[in-house]
């Protein structure tokens, strides 16, 4: 089987063609760096993505703090992960880098705040 991927590892977005048989990758071409090959191998087994969303903050200058994961998680778990993150409620002040959830859903990634929210 041959499949073409758009690599999402960086903004170049290489078009990568992979030849595979079952779960085995036979060849990878079109990638400009090693990240592309790893990306395609990962896509064939379990696509991984990082994600950003927000959590509620009370008593802050803004009602929300933006958050992201410290490492990617399986794409198919993202809706569940976002629901879990939305359960968090914070009180200002919030500091960028604060760990809000450790080891989200046992997937090995932490949820961190990505901006400071000062008290109102």
């Amino acid at each position: 089987m041959i499949r073409t991927y758009t690599c999402i590892m960086c903004p170049i977005g290489c078009e990568i063609t992979a030849e595979y048989e079952g779960g085995e990758v036979l060849s990878v071409s079109g990638n400009r760096c090693a990240k592309g090959e790893n990306y395609v191998r990962q896509e064939l087994t379990c696509p991984m993505r990082n994600i950003a969303t927000s959590v509620r903050v009370s008593g802050g200058e803004l009602p929300l703090a933006s958050v992201r994961l410290t490492s990617p998680i399986p794409l198919e778990r993202i809706p569940e992960a976002v629901r879990e993150i939305h359960r968090v409620e914070l009180t200002a002040p919030v500091r960028g880098g604060d760990v809000l959830i450790k080891d989200l859903l046992g997937l090995g990634a932490d949820v961190i705040a990505t901006k400071d929210i000062e008290k109102a």
Binding site: Y5, T6, C7, I8, C10, P11, G13, E15, P47, R49, N50, I51, A52, T53, S54, R56, L62, P63, L64, S66, V67, R68, L75, I78, P79, V82, G96, T114, K115, D116
Partner: protein, 412 residues
């Protein structure tokens, strides 16, 4: 009105203004003022909470607020003066910057001015979509500010017009926040944003992308009820009989960005209709001596990393200008097969890097710079896309004369 002397005034504390001010400080300048109309510095990055920023500039993937925070922290550490809540309402060719803030009006008399006002979004009015004017029609950036800064959900059933990066990012964001995105409709026969965003924002969530289609009518009285979508022909004119009604309560527009150049015009600087930004020379200097421009106010960028790098280059020129002056740039630059080409004038005495976008998408493009029929530099672009900026550098010694220079992108 108060009058204050300042050596350098930077207008806008978004990514371009912050990077320029920091780089100027690092080059030894101390009398710098950054003016920002919002309550906080950071510009549009404050609401761009997705990751992917900083891969070029920092070698890691950051969210927008984190990328901005690095520059804001550095500016603080250096003690750079930032006045927020200050709107610049006037700019004269003599480099007087007039700003209005809570404490009144101030005229800053500067020796050099850096334009870093960024851009704004094209709206429904600019597209002239027929129909009523119900609630529920937003530009992508406005929807992004509501959802990411104000905790206000914009709707439940959304249609997105235009496949710009912000539109695709909002398609993913709306989906994750529980809305149903029915599809993204793009008037061009190709996506206008980056391929990686088609992949990770649309394909990952099963959001369909429909090309060569546009919204031709808006329905609903108080709230949006539906849109009519039509196919378009090669000249992007709607094809009669191809109309399709799509029920939705939200229409998100991601149909282009417009450089914010009112002040540039006020100062008397010439605007290039092809970039919609100021005509600049290789020093990022406008036609008005001592007024410089970088970032999205000059030409709309694909990545913030390039905005920062451009502003840092600008800082080097500003310092040179203040301490002895810059080379005259009398050599005209024109383009063929390219859009958004800068700079428009060069000295032909120094290395210069041209930035541009391909006019059309295609494979195996050849990008070259010519003078007097001779190729000064050339490179290949395996996949040329208008969504992606390209650059090409010509070494000083390659220039042959003071004849005009042409930047050409062609396909084999």
């Amino acid at each position: 009105m108060r009058t204050v002397d300042k050596k350098i005034v930077v207008i806008g504390a978004g990514p371009a203004g912050l990077a320029a001010a920091i780089a100027l400080h690092e080059r030894g300048e101390r009398d710098i003022l950054l003016l920002e109309r919002e309550k906080k510095p950071g510009g549009i990055l404050r609401q761009c909470i997705h990751d992917g920023f900083g891969l070029t500039r920092f070698g890691e993937s950051l969210s927008g607020p984190e990328y901005a925070a690095r520059f804001i922290a550095r500016a603080k550490e250096l003690g750079i003066e930032i006045v927020t809540g200050a709107t610049v309402v006037g700019l004269d060719a003599d480099k007087t910057v007039t700003a209005v803030a809570a404490d009144g009006m101030t005229a800053y008399r500067a020796q050099a001015v850096v334009l870093a006002m960024g851009c704004r979004e094209r709206t429904r009015g600019a597209l002239a979509i027929p129909g009523r004017r119900p609630a529920g029609v937003y530009t992508a950036g406005v929807a992004q500010a509501y959802i990411n800064l104000k905790n206000i959900m914009v709707g439940r059933e959304a249609v997105i017009l235009g496949s710009g990066d912000i539109g695709m990012i909002m398609a993913r964001r709306l989906t994750l926040e529980g809305a149903h995105v029915k599809g993204v409709y793009e008037i061009q026969p190709y996506p206008s944003g980056l391929p990686r965003n088609v992949e990770q924002c649309l394909n990952d969530y099963g959001i369909p992308l429909h090309l060569s289609r546009t919204v031709t009518e808006i329905h609903g009285r108080d709230r949006l009820e539906a849109v009519t979508v039509s196919r378009v022909d090669e000249r992007m004119k709607p094809i009669p009989g191809s109309e399709e009604r799509i029920e939705c309560d939200t229409l998100i527009l991601s149909v282009g960005l417009i450089t914010e150049n009112e002040l540039t015009r006020m100062a008397g600087a010439q605007i290039d209709p092809r970039t919609s930004g100021a005509v600049i020379d290789e020093h990022f200097q406008t036609e008005v001596k001592g007024i410089f421009a970088a970032g999205n106010v000059l030409h709309v960028h694909d990545l913030v990393d390039f905005v920062s790098l451009e502003a840092e280059q600008l800082a080097a020129s500003v310092t040179e200008y203040l301490h002895g002056g810059l080379d005259e740039c009398g050599v005209e630059v024109s383009g063929e097969g390219v859009i958004q080409l800068i700079p428009q004038r060069v000295s032909a005495k120094r290395d210069v890097t041209f930035a541009l976008r391909p006019a059309k998408p295609g494979r195996n493009a050849k990008l070259r710079v010519e003078q007097d029929g001779t190729v000064l530099a050339e490179k290949r672009i395996p996949r040329a896309l208008p969504a992606e900026m390209a650059q090409i550098t010509v070494k000083a010694e390659k220039f042959l004369s003071d004849s005009p220079v042409k930047v050409v992108l062609s396909f084999d």
